[in-house]
């Protein structure tokens, strides 16, 4: 995946670009808003990671300029301003996701990969299949090896989100944001309990484990056959 990082702090920029490279992506670095906008317009990037406060042209203005040119490249905004209204402003300017500094790299990587997937047209498909686990969005049905699994509405949405991002790490905050639509940080392990309940419903003895806990990052649902 080709990623453009627009970040003015050289150390933070290099760290992020190197970490993305190590994760198997190709990351370019732009040090200010003008250069960032030029590179974003010229190159074909899958995801842009844009710092909100940049010299010459700030991050939000960069995104708005990009959107005005009908470029739909997904953008992850990085910002030291993490309050509710800042996030709203960022998303309104045309950003697709918002991450407050400082962040854990795993969180950033998970979000970048999720954004790239969102761009993929097959992301909004009607049915998902991971191994022998199937989810039908229209019929609201989940089955494992042909056997129906009754799920609560929220559990269904949780599983749907995990399956849409099958093979990708999904962090706890991503789950809270996308399944519950809250952006704060609960101090207790609320998400873990929900995931473990879901796990107890979808996992079967004698079948391969599908829902994995990724230590220090989050969760991933994965087809054991691949």
């Amino acid at each position: 995946m080709k990623i453009l990082v627009v970040e003015d702090d050289p150390e933070a920029g290099r760290y992020l670009a190197r970490a993305l490279n190590e994760a198997g992506h190709v990351a370019d670095l732009a040090a200010d808003g003008e250069v960032g906008l030029e590179m974003a317009m010229a190159g074909s990037y899958d995801v842009l990671v844009v710092d909100r406060m940049l010299p010459k042209r700030d991050g939000l203005s960069l995104i708005m300029a990009l959107r005005a040119e009908k470029r739909t490249t997904p953008v992850l905004i990085l910002s030291a301003l993490g309050q509710v209204d800042d996030r709203v402003l960022g998303l309104r300017a045309g950003g697709d996701d918002y991450l407050t500094k400082p962040y854990a790299f795993t969180e950033c990587l998970a979000r970048v990969e999720a954004l790239a997937r969102r761009q993929n047209p097959q992301s909004a498909q009607l049915t998902y299949k991971v191994g022998d686990l199937e989810l039908d969005r229209l019929a609201h049905r989940v089955s494992r090896a042909g056997e129906d699994i009754p799920l609560q509405p929220r559990e269904f949405r949780l599983l749907e989100y995990l399956m849409r991002h099958a093979g990708q790490v999904v962090t706890r905050t991503m789950l809270l944001e996308n399944v519950w639509d809250y952006h704060f940080d609960p101090q207790t392990n609320v998400i873990d309990v929900h995931v473990s309940r879901l796990r107890s419903k979808i996992e079967r003895k004698g079948h391969a484990t599908l829902l994995h806990t990724i230590r220090g990052a989050g969760y991933m649902i994965r087809d054991p056959g691949r």
Binding site: G82, Q83, V84, D85, V88, T100, P102, A104, R154, W180, D181, Y182, H183, F184, D185, P186, Q187, T188, N189, V190, V193, H194, R197
Partner: protein
């Protein structure tokens, strides 16, 4: 010093004072009123003078008229000779009637005055003319109001009355008018000066005090005279504002002290851990564990930071514009649903009683965060002290324009005298700090409640704690907004 006579400093100061006075609103208003008052006084005095003059004029006319009637009576009874005799007699009497009878050639037959007019051509009727008494010098000209008659024999009779008295009165009145106008101006001017000086003094008091406040003496307050005038009301408002600012400043100072203290503690732990690892860690495993602890500490620091920032935002009122009508029952149920598994895992029975149509102007994120803090607290401290168990009951209801969202537990509760304290920042009741926490949870809830125009109440659940978030209900009912929603498409159609 330059030649000539530059004004002395004292004079200049006085002039400057006058100039400053003249620029005040009070002075301008006073001057304006003074002008209007003087104008009206002038008009009224003028009217009085005019009326007096008219009255005098009528009086003179009447006197002359009476005199003429008497003369006519004499003439009718005794003919010309009688008339002449009467005129002669009367003309000698003291008094200011003047008589003159002339024949058709213009020669005076009798009379006591010399008229300074071509007597033969005077037409009959009323007129004003100059005259003087025969014993006077020619250059004295008196004024008189005269009635002229032409008798049947072609004789002309003039009967008049001197106007000096009237003129004197006129002069007196005019003088009185001038004096009273002068008095009005003087008194008004003095009044304006007095009022302006008073107002200036009050304003200067305010200015001096504000200058002192701006210089950093925040304990200064504007003077209040207890007359309850507009200055007092203004001063009271400004003082209340200063009190509020003072409170905020104190809060900020306390906060920064607390921040310094409570950030230093985890920072110290972080540093100590790193130093310790540097010195002692021999294996990669040890180093890795130390680094993980360091990251954990820094995450903790960040959480403190975030919470403080959020409290500050909520308290500054900056987020007030983000409040939108929300169905609180949806927020409460989603949070309850989020926490239910956790509560059950902790061995608590979980119960919800959530009403409907709980509409309030709210920020969904902030209410969610506040409720999440209440749930966190209930899970942390709400377990029965004697060996586990207990319950967590969530209720949301409305009554009397208020929406009450309560999270009740069966834990140890909070002693009544400590309830105010726990809402303060960084206050934690377990001195040992055995359980993880920041001591910011309830402060944040309280700040969010205040932002929404409500409050956080901590009540005794006997046993346990019931934390109640009281929020004002939104005025526009759900029914009305539905009606508006239905009305819109009709308009478009």
């Amino acid at each position: 010093m330059a030649p000539g006579s530059p004004p002395s400093t004292q004079e200049r100061g006085w002039l400057a004072g006058l100039g400053r006075m003249a620029r005040t609103t009070a002075f301008k208003l006073s001057a304006f009123y003074l002008l209007i008052f003087a104008l009206f006084s002038g008009i009224i005095l003028g009217y009085i003078a005019w009326n007096t003059r008219r009255l005098l004029d009528a009086q003179i006319t009447e006197t002359i008229e009476t005199e003429i009637n008497a003369l006519a009576e004499q003439y009718r009874q005794g003919g010309l000779r009688r008339l002449v005799a009467v005129i002669e007699r009367r003309g000698r009497q003291s008094g200011s009637f003047l008589y003159l009878l002339i024949d058709s050639r213009g020669d005076a037959m009798t009379g006591n005055a010399i008229l300074r007019v071509p007597v033969q051509s005077v037409s009959p009727g009323w007129s004003e003319m100059r005259y003087n008494w025969p014993d006077e010098a020619d250059d004295i000209a008196r004024r008189a109001k005269v009635r002229t008659f032409i008798l049947p024999s072609g004789l002309r009779l003039f009967v008049g009355r001197d106007l000096e008295e009237q003129d004197r009165l006129q002069i007196t009145i005019r003088r009185a008018r001038g004096i009273s106008l002068l008095l009005v101006l003087l008194m008004g001017g003095f009044g304006a000066w007095f009022v302006t000086k008073r107002v200036l003094k009050r304003v200067e008091g305010v200015a001096t005090t504000s200058a002192a406040i701006m210089a950093g003496n925040l304990s200064e307050r504007l003077p209040v005279t207890n007359t309850n005038d507009e200055f007092d009301r203004l001063a009271l408002h400004l003082n209340a504002m200063l009190d509020r600012i003072g409170e905020l400043m104190t809060g900020l100072r306390d906060l920064s002290d607390n921040v310094a203290h409570d950030l230093r503690t985890p920072l110290t732990r972080l540093r100590n851990g790193a130093e310790d690892a540097l010195r002692k860690a021999e294996t990669l495993e040890d180093a890795r564990a130390a680094l993980e602890r360091a990251i954990e500490e820094s995450d903790n620091l960040l959480r403190i930071f975030d919470a403080l920032q959020m409290i500050a935002r909520a308290e500054s009122g900056n987020l007030a514009t983000s409040l939108k009508p929300q169905k609180l029952e949806e927020i409460v149920s989603s949070l309850a649903e989020l926490y239910e598994p956790l509560a059950e895992e902790a061995g608590l029975t979980f119960e919800t009683r959530i009403g409907t149509d709980l509409l309030a102007n709210a920020n969904r994120e902030l209410i969610g965060q506040a409720l999440s803090n209440l749930f966190d607290n209930a899970l942390k401290y709400g377990v029965k002290p004697e060996g586990g168990g207990g319950s967590l009951i969530v209720t949301a209801e409305k009554s009397g324009g208020q929406i009450r969202i309560a999270v009740a537990d069966r834990g140890e509760g909070i002693p009544e005298d400590k309830r105010a304290a726990v809402v303060e920042r960084f206050v934690r009741l377990d001195a040992s700090r055995a359980k993880p926490g920041l001591g910011l949870g309830l402060s944040l809830v309280a700040a969010v409640a205040r932002l929404h125009g409500g409050e956080l109440r901590l009540e005794d659940n006997a046993p346990g704690l019931r934390a109640v978030l009281v929020l004002p209900e939104a005025v526009g009912s759900a029914g009305r907004s539905l009606a508006q929603g239905l009305a819109l498409p009709e308009k478009e159609a």
